[in-house]
């Protein structure tokens, strides 16, 4: 005997009906020109994020934590994670400019040079990792000073 599939809260059903009605009203207009391309983009961005980007950075993070853990320094993970994530975030947002893929249009439209973006991103990345290394070094020095010599 199968139980009947429950309906759930009627208020929630009403809410979703209203939401879908509005989404459909805008959606038919959104899909009017190139329905396949737009649908592909909407589903594609969600899939790319949930099934590619998120697993990739999760695996990378886990690898860093495990690797450092194997070396007995699991607590150093933050000093790699923070600069790497911030640098990756900047690359993700400004990828068209940093990669130069829109360089020709950018120069011709704005009269600005498209050349500096990669250099600036690399410099910011260097500063982030450098600052992280300095912080870690300071922390290690403080820990060494505090540790009594007998503890060796």
């Amino acid at each position: 005997m199968r139980r009947r599939f429950p309906v759930g809260s009627p208020l929630q059903l009403l809410l979703f009906c209203a939401s879908f009605a509005l989404a459909a009203y805008a959606g038919v207009r959104l899909l009017a020109d190139d329905w396949f391309g737009v649908a592909l983009w909407i589903v594609g961005t969600a899939v790319l994020h949930d099934l590619v980007l998120l697993p990739l950075y999760s695996v990378a993070d886990r690898a860093v934590v495990r690797g450092l853990g194997a070396a007995g320094h699991r607590e150093w993970a933050l000093y790699v994670r923070v600069p790497a994530a911030l640098s990756g975030l900047l690359l993700l947002v400004w990828f068209p400019l940093i990669s130069g893929m829109t360089a020709r249009r950018y120069r011709s439209a704005t009269g600005l040079s498209p050349d500096g973006f990669l250099t600036r991103w690399l410099l910011i990345t260097a500063v982030l990792f450098g600052a992280s290394a300095v912080l870690l070094a300071l922390r290690l020095r403080r820990a060494t000073k505090r540790r009594p010599p007998a503890a060796h």
Partner: protein, 416 residues
């Protein structure tokens, strides 16, 4: 079973939990609401209901229910609105990513639907996540002139916003009460809450030892936002502040030096302007109105009463300049020249531009009537440079950059 992402034990981060998700959710509730409102205002700033040439979404229907005559005061209105829209959108990206990370176990939760309402909720979540990412991605690509999306930016970003907002509003109604409860709960109860884990409640049943606290992870997310804000916001200011926008499209150095050195949206070469057409001997402004048509050379225009206005250039791409000192003929004086004395009507503006979505644009009567609305011949004490619209361009307080038509060839006054 812990090898499958549908098993709660698969997700090991000790950070996930209702408190972390609730903080991010409340930030997004405020942030995305502000994005939506500034976006709708920005849409209204184009006066899409005034003329088909301003309207890139002619089948908008009731979605344009709130449209109103865009004002000319304060003169920095569009600059502020669009600057906030773009800069805030970029700043929210880390919060959005963190929020999606915090709830990703729910994506894989089984059974796919516990009830009809739950099934609808999961469909709605596809619109929420897909629609939200679509809005962020199209916006971020458009400001970098990377037009790879499937169609024209205006309809995609506008209709996409409504699809996203429909799902966002439902999600906010459903989740906000619980999110606020989670935030009000005293910290000690958080420990207890972990023990009361229900299926799909985000808290990992077998968490890895932490490398950072939940509070630390929030600071981390906020740090990402701060970094993006600090390297973007400067493109709305002049001088050294602009140089702080290290990776933003209109950060860094100005394209030139001197009075005409400020930021350019589209250069004369890009717009396909032939220098021979803008030459003083060849160029004539054609002004049409109630009493007929007048043709004016640049020299004749310069002999009309000239007025000054200090107004910014503010672009839909989320960058702007400080006030520039424009000098030219008032639009209402040009209207009077062709028989519209006292009560200037709308005006239809045509540029020499060969292509570009806004080579023709319409301005509303209230914009024409403003004494600061000019057909500018000079900027900052010098003749306009070719890239800023030589021989003459429109400049209207609080109007989006693309409605400040450059290389003007023809003005047609009359009710549109």
């Amino acid at each position: 079973m812990t090898r499958s992402p549908s098993s709660p034990g698969f997700w090991r981060s000790p950070l996930r939990g209702p408190w972390f998700t609730s903080v991010l959710g409340v930030v997004l509730l405020a942030g995305i609401t502000l994005l939506f409102v500034t976006g709708l205002l920005s849409y209204a700033a184009y006066n899409p209901d005034l003329s088909p040439v301003n309207d890139k979404t002619p089948d908008k229907g009731v979605l344009g229910f709130y449209l109103f005559a865009w004002p000319t005061d304060p003169h920095w209105l569009y600059r502020l609105d669009q600057g906030v829209h773009v800069t805030l959108g970029i700043t929210l990206i880390p919060v959005l990513l963190a929020k999606l990370w915090s709830v990703v176990p729910k994506l894989f939760a089984l059974p796919p639907a516990r009830s009809l309402a739950h099934a609808l909720e999961r469909v709605s979540l596809l619109l929420l996540v897909g629609g939200g990412l679509f809005e962020f991605v199209t916006g971020v690509l458009n400001i970098q002139l990377d037009y790879v999306f499937p169609g024209s930016f205006y309809p995609l970003h506008f209709y996409g916003a409504w699809v996203f907002f429909a799902a966002f509003a439902a999600h906010a109604v459903l989740k906000t009460p619980a999110a606020l409860r989670n935030l009000r709960r005293p910290r000690e109860e958080e420990v207890k809450e972990v023990k009361e884990v229900e299926e799909g409640d985000l808290v990992s049943p077998r968490p890895d030892p932490p490398t950072v606290s939940r509070r630390g992870a929030l600071w981390f997310t906020g740090g990402g936002s701060l970094l993006l804000l600090a390297t973007t916001a400067g493109q709305n200011f002049d001088g050294p502040l602009r140089r702080t926008a290290l990776l933003a499209p209109h950060g860094g150095a100005d394209p030139g030096s001197g009075p005409n050195g400020f930021q350019i949206n589209k250069t004369a070469a890009y717009a396909g302007i032939d220098p021979a057409e803008t030459d003083d001997d060849a160029w004539r402004l054609v002004v049409t109105g109630r009493t007929g048509t007048v043709r004016l050379s640049r020299a004749q225009l310069a002999r009309l009463p000239l007025h000054s206005a200090a107004l910014p250039i503010a672009c839909v791409e989320g960058w702007s300049t400080g006030d520039q000192w424009w000098r030219g003929v008032r639009l209402r004086d040009l209207a009077a020249l062709v028989g519209h004395d006292g009560d200037p009507p709308d005006v239809f503006v045509e540029s020499l531009q060969r292509h570009g979505a806004f080579r023709r644009a319409a301005l509303r009567a209230n914009q024409v009537a403003d004494p600061r609305s000019l057909l500018a011949l000079y900027v900052n004490g010098e003749k306009l440079s070719p890239d800023h619209g030589r021989p003459a361009r429109i400049i209207v307080p609080a109007a989006p950059g693309v409605l400040n038509t450059k290389w003007v060839a023809r003005l047609t006054f009359g009710d549109l």
